[in-house]
Amino acid sequence: MPKIQTINLVKRFEKVTAVNRVNFTVGDGEYVSIVGPSGCGKSTVLRMLAGLEKPTQGEILFDGKPVTGLLPEDRNIGFLFQSYELFPHLTVGENVEYGLFVRAVKKADIGSKSSELLKLVKLLQFSGYYPIHLSGGMQQRVALARALATGSRLLLLDEPLSALDEKAAVMLRYEIQKSSKRLGLTVIHVSHNQETALSSSDKIIVMRSGKVVQSGPPRDVYLNPSSPYVAYFLGDSNFIEATVTGQAEAEASGIRFRLPEKPPSRNVILAIRPEKAVLNDKNPASFNAVVMDVNFLGYTTEYAIQANELKLRVRTAKHDYLKKGDGVTLRLPPKDMMVFSDEFDLSRELSPG
């Protein structure tokens, strides 16, 4: 039985439908990320799971039982907010103990539990400090300890990394992942950052404008996006609008591309990720192109390549290798090519929100 299930979940605010019939399941012990641009409804879904918002329609089941009427304090969840929100009038230790305190747990037991968790997040020595003295990353770790102290098996994270410096965010995201695996927790992590979602999750749910667009294991969704939007939102993609010219072939701007399989329509949208395009390999399928710009990104370099009218971005770890104006050959391997039918309107797929 899934740990969490939503059935046709809807939330309307006056004139806006923020969540539009969302269905998904989360298994026991799974780490699931819900990812999408701001305004896509992901936070609203999470808040409905927590009981902080009431669904307009639809059902939410925890362990098979509906929780729709249940108040947040009765759902036994741990919740992390984007802006950490530690209680400023309580010390770090008292913050962590709060959940146990409101359950009237015995003093002796509270102390040991909170120490255990502060040790887990490596902040035991700050127990007597007030939140205002801690950095953002530290405060969020205290918030994590606080959420776990009640012993709940379900952790809901509402963009917990967004307010942190990049380094702190990356460190914290791995810590959350490791702690939750170690404790066997079920985690639902809402984020607008696709890299965060890809790196930590067992399953990723991509949302847009209130709907679930695709869900599945990160690698699957990344390599087999169901729409140009997903191909664009996760990682990056080059898009080519092409006309089919054969069994497994299409043409755009005078260049022929081999396709991985029979195309779904007469006109297709081809997509290929910048890291998959191959430069200067001696293969008859390569075509000629010119380097328009070079952008060093550190762990990789991005080349803006132009072939006839087509403008493509290509990434490779070889730096200092090509210069602006150089002639190159480029190949787009069919196995890495994503093909979409003309049912998709490319400009709408790529527009924000």
């Binding site: 927590a50 009981g51 902080l52 108040l71 947040p72 304090e73 759902r75 036994n76 969840i77 741990g78 919740f79 907010f81 802006s83 929100e85 209680f87 400023p88 009038h89 709060y98 959940g99 305190f101 409101v102 359950r103 009237a104 918030a143 606080r146 959420a147 009640t150 809901l156």
Partner: protein
């Protein structure tokens, strides 16, 4: 960063004005400690004790009902919220003498007799009626204060508490309340000093009970200046001591969390809500709104042509109105001019004196106005200055904080970055004040002007202490009431003033809404 009005001369002038006109008068009377016979008769002491007992009871009652009401107004969305919000502020703008008559009519009222039998009064003049009266015009201070504090408390703190297992009641008392501690205390201080200070309406409902401000006026009119001064001094010192203790308490103490009884608190959160809301509604309607509006509700028939004619021919009342408006207008205009630079000094902490002046402004608030009026009369009496001028100075003095507070709060609220942005776009300090800061504080200035005007209009104690001869409308009303001669014209005048207050209140709410 250098900002606005770089003229040091201007600020110097404003500071001098403040010290001389606004701050010095309340302080002058303290010097009487060192002169002559400073003694406190037992009557005087009794009056002071009465005042404190009343004020403390009033504040306690206020807090009890303000806590749930401010929560409802700050957090709950219900249909007539704006209306309730506006109504709760009514007693702040309506002159207290009118409130006095209204409250007396409601609680002491013959209407109760007509319902329940001829010998039934709900309350008669005296201790408890004073308390009921004071609750009416102090309650809004607490509600506003706590509500403003709650609006600042991040909802996310409260949501976090809920997700951690706290029921609504537990959350409110362990998280929200401790975080608005400062607002609760400042609201209590405002309410307390207002109660301590009120004279005119108290006279109407006190019967034989004497409160300190009332006895100051009596002594002064009887010529016992030193007795009057003694009482005033004791009032000021005791109130100051309380203020210091309260300030200290708000910084140093931590609200202890006590123990949680999850089951009970949960029950109270769920089942009790209806009872709580009903209780609050009943209190507000029955103890605040009805007593306030009763004078209008019960006498609506007075609004007729013949009463109007009588009113226009009533020289006493007309003269009172003219004097009141004249004094209030001058006080408001003068204060407006000086409050803006003072607001700048406080909010921008100019010359590092911001906190000093903020505190001094608060000190003025806690000086009972009768004492203030007395002080000024004594000081200027030495130079035989025209009584009307002294009266105007007195009004300028006690109403100054009512103008400065909203202005400095608004200035603090203006995001500094907006001014910085204007500067980087080429605006000089003056230009940035004119195009950015000033438009953004306009609603606060409007509110300040209205509050100052109405506060001046409302004042009786200071007026009575300054002069026996110059009678503002509120003094006229008090005297008519005491003489049992409140006729149709007087009631009509009250109703008209009441209507004016309501219009002003709506104007304030409107201009805030536009922000």
């Amino acid at each position: 960063m250098a900002f606005g009005f770089s003229s040091k001369l201007l600020y110097g002038f404003v500071i001098l004005f403040f010290l001389f006109i606004v701050f010095f008068p309340p302080v002058y009377i303290l010097s009487y400690i060192f002169g002559g016979d400073f003694s406190l008769s037992s009557d005087s002491l009794g009056a002071v004790v009465n005042s404190f007992k009343i004020a403390l009871t009033v504040v306690a009652l206020d807090v009890l009902f303000a806590l749930p009401l401010s929560w409802i107004l700050a957090r709950k969305k219900f249909r007539h919220r704006l209306l309730v919000d506006t109504l709760v502020d009514m007693p702040l703008v309506v002159p207290t003498s009118i409130l006095g008559i209204s409250v007396y009519m409601f609680w002491g009222g013959e209407w109760a007799a007509s319902l329940f039998g001829p010998s039934v009064h709900l309350f008669s003049k005296g201790y408890w009626m004073i308390i009921l009266l004071h609750v009416v015009f102090t309650f809004p201070y607490l509600v506003r204060s706590i509500q403003a504090g709650l609006l600042q408390v991040s909802r996310i703190h409260e949501e976090a508490a809920r997700t951690l297992g706290a029921s609504a009641l537990t959350m409110y008392r362990t998280i929200s309340l401790p975080l608005v501690k400062k607002s609760v205390i400042s609201g209590c201080i405002l309410a307390f000093t207002r109660s301590l200070s009120e004279t005119g309406a108290t006279m109407m409902v006190a019967g034989v009970v004497k409160t300190a401000p009332v006895i100051v006026v009596e002594y002064k009119n009887a010529g016992s200046v030193s007795d009057a001064a003694a009482v005033s001094i004791v009032l000021i010192l005791a109130a100051a001591a309380l203020l210091v203790i309260a300030r200290f308490a708000s910084i140093k103490t931590r609200v202890p969390l006590f123990h949680v009884y999850p089951g009970t608190e949960k029950f109270l959160s769920a089942r009790f809500i209806g009872v709580r809301d009903a209780g609050v509604f009943f209190f507000v309607a029955g103890f605040i709104l009805l007593p306030t509006a009763f004078i209008v509700l019960a006498n609506i028939g007075v609004v007729n042509a013949s009463a109007f004619t009588a009113l226009i021919h009533n020289g006493l009342i007309l003269k009172g109105v003219v004097i009141s408006f004249f004094v209030a207008a001058i006080a408001t205009i003068v204060n407006l001019v000086f409050a803006i630079p003072m607001g700048v000094i406080i909010s921008k902490n100019k010359f590092r004196l911001g906190h000093v002046f903020d505190t001094l402004n608060d000190v003025i608030l806690l000086v009972p106005t009768s004492a203030l009026g007395l002080s000024l009369a004594l000081f200027w009496g030495n130079f035989e200055v025209n009584e009307l001028l002294v009266l105007v100075l007195a009004h300028i003095s006690f109403s100054f904080p009512f103008m400065v507070r909203p202005v400095s709060a608004a200035l603090t609220g203006v995001n500094e970055e907006l001014v910085e942005a204007a500067r980087t776009l080429g605006a000089t300090p003056y230009k940035s004040f004119k195009t950015i800061t000033f438009p953004l504080i306009k609603p606060a200035i409007i509110a300040g002007v209205i509050m100052t005007f109405m506060r001046s209009l409302s004042e009786t104690g200071a007026t009575m202490s300054v002069s026996r001869n110059i009678k503002t409308i509120t003094v006229v009303l008090v005297e008519l009431f005491e003489g049992g001669q409140v006729g149709e014209e007087a009631i009509l005048a009250c109703i008209l003033l009441f209507a004016l207050s309501f219009i002003f209140l709506v104007m304030i709410k409107r201009s805030h809404g536009e922000e």
